[in-house]
């Protein structure tokens, strides 16, 4: 019953989506408003149907309905409820279903918020979203059908992949990632809509899609950070990033979207880069599809790639169609894509944005080459290779360092060509800051050139971005006599987009400084110790092995150790690194014990133990500042959120400004600092 509801909802949804696409497209071309309206309603129906299928699947999972082949594949009666629900995205078919659901939700929301807005681009935007929807629904009724019948019905299933049921973050990271990935479809759809409607010469589509892009970008940022955190908490190696193809797949669209967030400002301010911005948004979308292709088609081996049959061809065809359509649309609009302005001077914010885009593009290209090279090498030369971490680090660390520097220079420079006095006044405090950072880092023992540069430029960007808040608030305090907190909050409120961006910069500084510190000052200790013995950690700390124990849980067996952390011989904490044995896995999934402090983590992983419990082998990793990576990610998301919030009373002020004369410019509309 559940199975039939789900399966039929998906088939009907595909039909509705196709009809909706035809209605909005031909309605827009033939100027039949009622067709377009009917097409808009189809998006709501599509959402309802895919929601029904998704709920049917969740119900099937929770009720252990093993007649559904997806449930038989990932379900198990012994799995706790939380992990049963989140196994919705634990394997290929379910993850495509969830993807399709998020897309149908976003499509309905785009239509709901924009259908009454004028302009010809909304019908074509809707058509693009429905077109992408059709792709995922074809997958769902075809190669990734989750509601197949299993006969005879098994009594129990194997449960989800052990790696995916070992930590609560698995309930957070994938939905964030899908919201980010799928969210990138929306700005892409606005771009395609604008091109199809011939409205690409102005910034209308950019304004309409700005919040969508920021939202998707924030989700993608959060997803990448949550993925790093998961890797750190579950894989037991004390690291968080390995340039794994799946990680790269999520990182590439983030890079191009970040480039886009900056380069659209050049288009809005100076009328430049129109073609470039379209290319960036198309590239971002194609990279999300490419990422799904890489992770879902089994062409690359990876920690969490699902290996499956011929679904890869569908993705390749989809990528080809998107590229072809985008090319045709860009070519058809070429005369509207000429620049109407120019940059003023070399030392201006605009040129920093150009450099930022250059580096971010080079970054993306490097990651793309490194990720795809094994595929090419195997196809062309027949050798199995992988591209090691040294390649990625060697190529990307200099780029990251340059980007950190630009992140400090950009906010400090005005849009107009800066004169020497301004440059000196703006860049002196950050330069002093980076000098201090250099001395501190040298004193702390950093000798690697790039690590030193990273610390310097992180400090540079920190001082420059904080400086923008300080300067702006101080000016308000002088001019309006506001108190410091009021001046600061009014400053941010008056230009949320800009100061939200600076908040995000501060988050990036935190992440960059933390990663540099964690990798530069990481120390590892490993040893086999008997019960009652201690393993020394550095100068004054040690862990003592108190107990090796085991317990049986419904879905797994757990072997753990109880350790006491000692500092100068004093007991300061109890740690319990564990190993989890799942019946479906040949090797155990570790649960390392992490003691987190703002200054850094002590990370203890149980490597091995004697069968009689007499001794255990432990690896202890001391990593400074690691929590700041996660915290920095949250700061970045806060920044994006600030940028997204509508300016209070903006509509009212705009209306007032229209009604009266242009010279009236109170409160919210006038940035207080000269920019």
């Amino acid at each position: 019953m559940t199975r039939l509801i789900g399966a039929n909802a998906l088939i009907v949804a595909l039909g509705v989506t196709v009809v909706g696409l035809l209605l909005v497209t031909f309605g827009a071309r033939r100027q039949r408003a009622e067709w377009v309206e009917a097409g808009y309603s189809a998006t709501y129906l599509q959402f309802a149907l895919v929601t029904a299928a998704t709920f049917a699947m969740i119900f099937g999972l929770v009720s252990h309905d093993f007649s559904i082949d997806y449930v038989a594949q990932v379900g198990s009666r012994a799995t706790p409820l939380y992990y049963t629900v989140i196994s919705l995205w634990g394997a290929l078919e379910g993850s495509i279903l969830f993807w399709g659901w998020v897309l149908s939700l976003l499509t309905a929301l785009v239509v709901f918020w924009n259908r009454d807005r004028g302009g010809k681009l909304i019908p074509y935007t809707t058509a693009t979203l429905l077109g992408v929807g059709i792709f995922f629904q074809i997958l769902l009724v075809g190669p990734a059908h989750p509601f197949g019948l299993v006969s005879p019905v098994p009594l129990d299933g194997p449960g989800p992949n052990p790696l995916l049921q070992n930590h609560w973050l698995m309930g957070i990271h994938p939905p964030l990632l899908y919201l980010g990935y799928v969210g990138m479809t929306v700005p892409f759809a606005f771009a395609m809509g604008a091109m199809a409607a011939g409205e690409v010469g102005d910034t209308g589509w950019i304004r309409l899609s700005r919040r969508w892009l920021l939202g998707a970008w924030a989700f993608l940022t959060a997803a990448i950070i949550a993925g790093m955190w998961w890797s750190y908490e579950v894989l037991g190696w004390g690291g968080y990033w390995a340039w794994d193809p799946v990680e790269n797949a999520s990182f590439m669209p983030w890079l191009t979207a970040t480039a886009f967030l900056h380069s659209v400002m050049v288009q809005e301010r100076r009328g430049l880069l129109k073609l470039w911005n379209l290319n960036l948004i198309v590239a971002t979308f194609v990279l999300t599809i490419l990422g799904t292709f890489l992770t879902r088609s089994g062409v690359l081996t990876s920690v969490h790639a699902f290996t499956e049959g011929n679904i890869g061809y569908y993705f390749l065809v989809a990528i080809a169609i998107v590229l072809l359509l985008s090319f045709v649309l860009v070519a058809g609009n070429s005369e509207k894509l000429t620049s109407d302005g120019q940059l003023e001077g070399t030392a201006s914010r605009g040129s920093v944005f150009l450099l930022n885009n250059l580096f971010l593009t080079a970054f993306t290209f490097t990651v793309l080459v490194g990720t795809l090279f094994p595929l090419v090498a195997e196809a062309v030369r027949g050798v199995k290779v992988s591209v090691g971490e040294p390649f990625f680090n060697r190529m990307t660390v200099p780029i990251c360092v340059a980007l950190l520097f630009l992140m400090g220079v950009g906010p400090a420079l005005p849009w107009k060509a800066a004169d020497r006095a301004t440059i000196r006044r703006k860049l002196l405090p950050p330069a002093i800051g980076s000098g201090v950072a250099l001395l501190v880092a040298l004193f702390a023992g950093t000798r690697d050139v790039f690590a030193l540069l990273a610390f310097m430029f992180a400090a540079f960007a920190l001082v420059a971005n904080v400086g923008e808040f300080v300067e702006g608030a101080r000016l308000r305090m002088q001019q309006r006599g506001e108190s410091a907190p009021l001046a600061l909050s009014e400053l941010v409120n008056a230009n949320r987009r800009r100061y939200g961006g600076y908040v995000a910069h501060l988050g990036v500084v935190a992440v960059a400084a933390a990663i540099t510190a964690a990798s530069t000052f990481k120390t590892e200790y490993e040893g086999t110790i008997k019960k009652g013995e201690s393993l020394k950690i550095g100068e004054n700390m040690a862990v003592r092995l108190d107990e090796v124990w085991g317990r049986e849980e419904p879905q797994r067996a757990v072997i753990g150790t109880t350790l006491t952390l000692l500092k100068n011989g004093r007991e300061i904490a109890t740690l319990d690194p564990r190993m989890n044995f799942y019946p479906t896995s040949q090797q155990p999934v570790p649960t390392p014990a992490v003691r987190s402090r703002p200054t850094g983590d002590i990370y203890v992983n149980l490597q091995a133990f004697q069968q009689d419990g007499s001794n255990a082998t432990l690896r202890v990793i001391v990593e400074p500042l690691v929590p700041w990576i996660w915290l920095g990610g949250m700061i970045i998301c806060c920044g994006a959120l600030i940028s997204m919030l509508p300016v209070p009373g903006a509509a009212r002020v705009r209306a007032a400004a229209r009604a009266e004369s242009a010279e009236r410019a109170p409160g919210a509309t006038t940035p207080v600092t000269a920019s």
Partner: protein, 155 residues
Amino acid sequence: MSSTSRKAATLTIAGVIVAAAFGYMMFGGLESNVVYFLTPAELVARGEGVYDRAVRLGGQVAPGSVQWDANALDLKFRVREGTHEVVVHSKGAPPQMFRDGMGVVVEGKYVRAANGQSVFESKNLMIKHSEEYRAPKDGQMPQEMYKSLIKGVSS
């Protein structure tokens, strides 16, 4: 030549130079940082060129070859595929499930040892994930293997 087109020409030339330098760095970097997946037979067949560069070696742990010194955290074993074998040495504890006959992938470098016999110095020892899942044999289920521990604390 007008000033704008000269500017454009300068920019283009600068762009080409930067792109070329970047491309050179990238493909040079790829050449020296690619890690080959090799079997013991392929490793030996490669001859001189294989020494001191990053390799992933895949095969089976030769039964009876494991020498583990728990105090020094020193591990020696042979990786076998067919009739070819390579001696592997690694520092640090092997994974808990490591044992004779299982599929492994070791990451490291093939190094000439003093006595003439070459050794694969492993930096990272991984259990090979076999594509197909096979149920553990009787007595190898963790619940049974570690029964004494699980009983030990029955809280």
